[in-house]
């Protein structure tokens, strides 16, 4: 047996403070709300005390952003680009530090934060830096909106920050961003990077806290644009709060994506794609391929291969370079995954996990798949946001489309077939913002991303992403 010895990435590259304040107008300041702890979900160890921004603090942040908007929006695009390029380069230089911190605070494997999150974060800043002086060619005009209030989730803390801040700044807006309460640390390190890049004070403000802080950002009367990524439930509340105010709104919400495997698919790569689709980032991915739709004629073969492959997944210490599955981000999320999985069993689906030892401390859930799932089961309808795959079958391409679209969501879909014409036929009919063909969970800053139906509205990324931050 070839056992891999522990290969932990060093924590020493990260210099953690015992406590963190808010980043307003280029300074770290105390918050007036009660501070809270952020923990390492893999060990439950407290990493730092974090300030809570009250509505007064949020107001100060918005005022700082408003003041900075005058200066920032008046800069020529090429000048704004210089700052963004500088930020992108500093992110690359400090990538190791950011990756370790991301894994500590979020629980995701260092292999993913190092090889996926951080390269994409830097790429996003580079990409939008390139647009800053070319806005007149994008087709949305060149007039920025003003102050953007942005609320982001805990699944890709730094990447979602990049998706929000890079286009906003490139277009000449200033921002007040609230990171998720369980993962504020990389956003606060990003604040330090803004200072290192000499970004004018107030252009980026980071306010930490829970739902109330986020609500204060969204509801602030001097915010011109609200951007939110997170649950459909909170997205609804935000849409209500913003309705009638004249604020522009983009929402990137939940998903229940179908990963559709045809009988002529390249099976080994399809198995990899299914695994990557649902077990990447512990399934904490809004566009995760949480429903596997497999053609009945290859069901047995594919499931056998999938189970064999799940047996090789390595769950454990997120900082170990060989870890494939890290920790669930919070006790709350773990409880939700458990509740929905138990419901799956109660409703009659068959549950399977590979032999897999879970660490004693921290929040963990084994990679799990359910077979015998029907469209009517809760685990085929509700977003679980965890490493849980529901396997359904289909007989014909038309049935695959019908089942894939039969969900309140519509963020992404995957199609696995060696037949090119079928890929195009499917892509035409799938009501999902992203359709991946023979791959899954592939991101690129040049490609727009966003949902149909309850998965939200507006597009982030690519040229389209500029439209959300310009007065069209």
């Amino acid at each position: 047996m070839f056992e891999y010895a522990p290969a932990p990435e060093s924590r020493d590259v990260v210099d953690l403070s015992p406590s963190y304040g808010l980043f307003i107008n280029g300074e770290f300041v105390d918050g007036s709300g009660p501070s809270f702890k952020t923990v390492n979900p893999a060990t439950e160890e407290t990493l730092a005390e974090i300030a809570t921004a009250s509505s007064d603090d949020v107001d100060r942040a918005v005022q700082a952003a408003r003041k900075a908007f005058g200066v920032w929006s008046a800069l020529p695009g090429a000048e704004r680009a210089k700052y963004l390029f500088r930020i992108a380069r500093i992110i690359q230089e400090r990538a190791r530090e950011l990756a370790v911190l991301e894994s500590l605070d979020n629980g995701k494997p260092i292999r993913e934060s190092r090889d996926v999150d951080l390269p994409l974060v830097a790429a996003h800043f580079f990409y939008y830096a390139g647009w800053a002086d070319k806005l007149e060619h994008a087709g949305f005009g060149t007039k920025p909106l003003g102050v953007a209030g942005q609320v982001i989730p805990w699944n890709f803390p730094l990447l979602m920050l990049a998706w929000k801040i890079a286009p906003a700044l490139a277009c000449g807006n200033t921002v007040v961003l609230k990171p998720a309460e369980t993962t504020p640390l990389t956003a606060l390190l990003f604040a330090d990077i803004c200072r290192q890049a000499d970004l004018p004070p107030g252009v980026v403000n980071i306010v930490t806290g829970a739902g109330e802080t986020g609500a204060a950002v969204v509801a602030h009367p001097d915010v011109d644009k609200v951007a939110f990524t997170g649950s459909t439930e909170v997205g609804r509340i935000i849409a209500r709060s913003v309705a009638g105010t004249g604020k522009k709104l983009t929402l990137e919400l939940g998903g229940k994506a179908a990963n559709i495997v045809f009988d002529d698919a390249a099976i080994d790569q399809a198995v990899e794609g299914v695994v990557n689709g649902i077990f990447f980032n512990q399934g904490h991915v809004c566009c995760a391929g949480s429903r596997l739709l497999v053609q009945e004629s290859v069901q047995e073969e594919l499931l056998a291969a999938l189970k064999r492959r799940l047996g090789t997944l390595r769950l454990g210490d997120p900082l170990d370079k060989n870890t494939d599955i890290g920790a669930i981000n919070s006790a709350e999320q773990l409880a939700k995954i458990r509740r929905l999985s138990d419901l799956g069993e109660a409703e009659g689906a068959e549950r399977w996990s590979p032999a897999c030892e879970l660490p004693a401390k921290g929040f963990w859930f084994p990679p799990t798949l359910f077979t015998g799932v029907a469209q009517s089961h809760s685990i085929a309808r509700e977003e679980i946001f965890g490493p849980v795959l529901s396997v359904l079958t289909f007989r014909t391409p038309a049935e695959a489309v019908e089942k894939a679209n039969n969900t309140p969501y519509g963020l992404s879909a995957g199609v696995w077939t060696e037949k090119g014409s079928r890929i195009l036929w499917m892509a035409d009919r799938l009501r999902a913002g992203v359709v991946w063909a023979n791959t899954f969970n592939k991101f690129d800053p040049a490609s727009p991303f966003g949902g149909y139906k309850e998965s939200g509205y507006g597009r982030e990324g690519g040229r389209h992403g500029l439209g959300a931050y310009l007065d069209v």
């Binding site: 070839f2 010895a5 290969a7 390249a266 370079k321 060696e418």
Partner: protein, 309 residues
């Protein structure tokens, strides 16, 4: 073997239908999977274990026009005692005319004699020559025969010709093990790699081997991965286990360990022995020895502390 698989080689049409019915290989996905496995970090005790395992899997090779009996004898000495307390390698691999020399040197040592045959490396000769090339090498003492397939026949779609040649060479091998070299660098597509792997296994190969070492690219990680998946699937289908030998371009300890990781996370444990997995290489051995010593002592010794043979 099930009857349907046994019948596959009965005609060109059945063979073609079977090989073209195998699931395709998506190049992007296969490359990505191999690259991801290449990021595995093998340290400390795992590395020590991997280095010794890799040494024991080496087919120490010399395949030069300038090879002589003296050169082969020196290489055999190194194969048996690579240095320090390192294990012996699995086999030495030479041209057919030097098999007798190697067999003399290696008798009783447990290190096998492998010989390339069948008009290596191009295979551009008649079946009669290929068969006698094989038979003579076996008669001279070869334990293992590394044959090349007729890539021209394969690429022109004449799978039956390739199949029948492998069957004939296998018959000429007698008790010797047959490794079938696919020369994946000339097959070009991953679909072809999978088809050629199955073709060789169906025709009776004991091992499938990536390359001659004379064509670039040789043993790339995705190609080795696809061949490992093929032997895994073949055993599932037939119950017969076939070995894999990547050869060509594996020069460093890092390369060797990446290969072991590929085995570990695809075909699995059962292939992690010299009986079922080999590394065809020449310069690799000294790098393994150097890293082995570094791991034991914490220091690198200069190149003159490792023998050049």
């Amino acid at each position: 073997m099930t009857t349907s698989l046994a019948d596959v080689g009965s005609s060109g049409a059945t063979l073609r239908a079977f090989l073209h019915g195998l699931p395709g290989v998506d190049r992007v996905g296969a490359d990505q999977r191999a690259a991801m496995l290449g990021t595995r970090s093998i340290k400390t005790t795992a590395k020590a274990h991997a280095i010794d395992l890799a040494i024991s899997m080496v087919d120490l090779t010399t395949l030069e026009g300038a090879d002589t009996a003296g050169k082969v004898r020196a290489m055999c000495a190194k194969a048996v005692r690579p240095g320090g307390d390192a294990p012996s390698v699995a086999a030495v691999c030479v041209y057919p005319d030097l098999v007798a020399v190697a067999a003399d040197e290696l008798r009783g040592t447990g290190v096998k004699v492998a010989s390339v045959a069948t008009g290596f490396p191009s295979g551009r000769t008649s079946l009669e020559v290929k068969v006698s090339d094989t038979a003579l090498a076996v008669a001279a003492g070869a334990d293992e025969i590394d044959m090349v397939i007729d890539r021209g026949a394969f690429l022109s779609g004449d799978y039956l010709k390739v199949y029948e040649q492998i069957v004939a060479v296998k018959a000429a091998c007698g008790a010797a093990h047959l490794k079938v070299i696919l020369e994946t660098g000339e097959l070009s597509t991953y679909d072809n790699v999978r088809r050629a792997s199955w073709l060789a296994m169906l025709a009776g190969a004991d091992f499938i081997k990536t390359s001659t070492g004379k064509v670039s690219p040789a043993a790339t990680p995705p190609v080795t991965l696809i061949m490992l998946e093929a032997v895994r699937d073949f055993r599932d289908a037939t119950g017969r286990q076939v070995g894999v030998k990547p050869a060509g371009g594996i020069r460093t300890t890092k390369d060797a360990i990446k290969n072991l990781v590929l085995v570990n996370e695809s075909a699995g444990d059962d292939w992690l022995t010299p009986e079922w997995f080999r590394l065809g290489a020449s310069s690799l051995l000294n790098d393994l020895l150097m890293q082995r010593q570094k791991l034991a002592t914490g220091r690198y010794a200069g190149p003159d502390y490792f023998t050049l043979d």
